[in-house]
């Protein structure tokens, strides 16, 4: 586990890469994020764990403002998330996101899925973007599928393309919102392997997952959420072997007992 920042990510501020201060969000009467305070350091791999409905996905989606927040402050690399418009789009380009349901652009080829962001958002030349895309697709092992449409690929392959698509933007931080939950069991490892390799290269990552194996292999820190609150945080080893809170013990008991 290395914690060196990627050389491609110049440190523009010495502070934490991602910081959340007193973040609150409601869905109607439901208080889904309760006064969340969290800092993620450059190069850190953070795993977010918790029962469904605990707010962990909402937390992940709030970090690039796919979910709005009611109050509090979220900053990426020292810059507070703007509410709307061009500035928000620009900031989002720095935050890679991988979704549970892959969300590859269904009408575009695998290659186009990866080149679209660099060309249309960053103004990269088509040839250069293609080269970058092919190297990223090769890295995640799907370069031989470049001309196909997403629907022609397996779930595991699609998710690896989604990782390549996010990496093509050279993001400062990568968010993973339950990246393996929609996959058939035999495809989970190919995606986790790609994520572990990314973590070892020093990418800052926030990963919402139930994959204990991944947390043990790659995470620097685990946070456990329940009812919209961060209940506990620790190193993976500490958390899985010696959880402090009743809620965490209960949760781990349920998912580890079989």
């Amino acid at each position: 586990m290395t914690s060196e920042p990627l050389p491609a990510t110049p440190a523009s501020s010495g502070g934490p890469l991602v910081s959340l201060k007193n973040v609150n969000k409601h869905f109607g009467d439901l208080h889904v994020l309760r006064d969340i305070n969290l800092e993620v350091a450059r190069g850190e791999v953070l795993v977010v764990i918790g029962p469904s409905g605990s707010g962990k996905s909402t937390l992940c989606r709030a970090i690039n403002r796919l979910e709005t927040i009611d109050d509090g402050e979220i900053a990426i690399d020292g810059k507070v998330l703007p509410a709307e418009g061009k500035a928000l789009a620009k900031l989002r380009a720095d935050v890679g996101m991988v979704f549970q349901s892959f969300n590859l652009f269904a009408h575009k080829s695998i290659l186009e899925n990866v080149t679209l962001g660099p060309v249309k958002v960053k103004g990269m030349k088509a040839g250069e973007a293609k080269e970058l895309a092919m190297s990223l697709l090769k890295r995640v092992g799907v370069d031989n599928q470049a001309q196909k449409l997403p629907a022609q690929l397996s779930g595991g392959q699609q998710q690896r393309v989604a990782i390549a698509r996010a990496l093509a933007m050279k993001p400062k931080v990568m968010l993973f919102d339950e990246p393996t939950s929609a996959l058939d069991p035999e495809m989970i490892n190919e995606v986790l392997d790609a994520m572990v390799s990314l973590a070892k290269d020093g990418m800052t990552m926030i990963v919402v997952t139930h994959e204990m194996g991944f947390a043990r292999r790659a995470a620097d820190r685990v946070i456990f959420m329940a009812d919209g609150q961060i209940v506990e945080q620790a190193t993976p080893e500490e958390f899985f072997t010696n959880p402090q809170s009743e809620r965490a013990r209960d949760f781990l008991g349920k998912i580890l007992s079989h």
């Binding site: 690039n64 796919l66 709307e84 418009g85 061009k86 928000l88 789009a89 620009k90 989002r92 380009a93 720095d94 935050v95 890679g96 996101m97 979704f99 349901s101 892959f102 969300n103 590859l104 652009f105 269904a106 009408h107 679209l116 962001g117 249309k120 958002v121 449409l149 629907a151 022609q152 989604a162 698509r165 996010a166 933007m169």
Partner: protein, 225 residues
């Protein structure tokens, strides 16, 4: 039979249909353009644009086409002297196109919106997540998929438009098919039913290929998910 065939020597039926085809073609183009803009308004994050789109659709979708075309001819052209060309016939023809386009744009908008509903929310989220703002995301990701999902309903709008082009008679475009039919029935009352059937069949022949083509295209171009 000879009687019936003599109709075609006296009256230029294909020319009348040609007027309807031209009306439909131009009105369809303008309606598609305007309807797309309206659909963008309705799905945009800006409340005032959403409101405008919804107001437009509700007004034009719920107003009879005859009223719109009669207003164009009597109100805009005759009373207010708004002319779209120096020649009278061309001006009336263009006013009819504008009326048809304004009316059908409301239906095009709703057809495209139904197409947008076939695009999963995740597509828009993924587009935003790589840093595309609303317009590029709509142009590159949402609309291309929405149009493919909207081909069948758009085809239905086009079919309605072709048939509705006969209402241009209410806007004094006399040369179009229903206007000619009226004249023919007036002067050849011995052949009322053959005349009616001729025009009915003419429209069936015009419209059936549109239906077949859009059904074929909506299957062929469907986005695989």
């Amino acid at each position: 039979m000879e009687n019936y065939l003599s109709l075609f020597e006296t009256y230029d039926v294909p020319a009348a249909f040609w007027v309807n085809i031209q009306l439909s073609f131009w009105a369809a183009l303008w309606a598609l353009a305007l309807g797309t803009v309206l659909a963008l308004f309705r799905i945009s994050p800006i409340p005032s644009l959403q409101w405008f789109g919804a107001a437009y659709v509700n007004i034009f979708r719920n107003t009879p086409l005859t009223i719109i075309l009669a207003f164009g001819f009597l109100g805009l052209f005759s009373v207010m002297q708004i002319s779209l060309a120096s020649e009278l016939n061309v001006s009336l023809f263009r006013i009819a196109i504008v009326g048809l386009a304004l009316y059908h744009a409301a239906f095009v908008c709703e057809a495209i919106r139904s197409g947008v509903n076939t695009v999963p929310l995740g597509q828009a989220e993924a587009a935003r997540a790589i840093g595309l703002s609303f317009l590029p995301a709509a142009r590159l990701i949402i609309l291309p998929q929405a149009f493919r999902g909207a081909i069948a309903p758009l085809g239905n709008v086009l079919i309605a438009l072709i048939k509705n082009s006969t209402v241009a008679a209410a806007g004094s475009v006399a040369a179009e098919a229903s206007g000619l039919m009226k004249t023919m029935i007036e002067f050849r009352s011995d052949l009322v039913f053959p005349i009616f059937l001729t025009f009915a069949l003419g429209f069936v022949i015009l419209v059936i290929p549109v239906g077949l083509l859009t059904t074929w295209a909506s299957r062929k171009l469907a986005v695989a998910r």
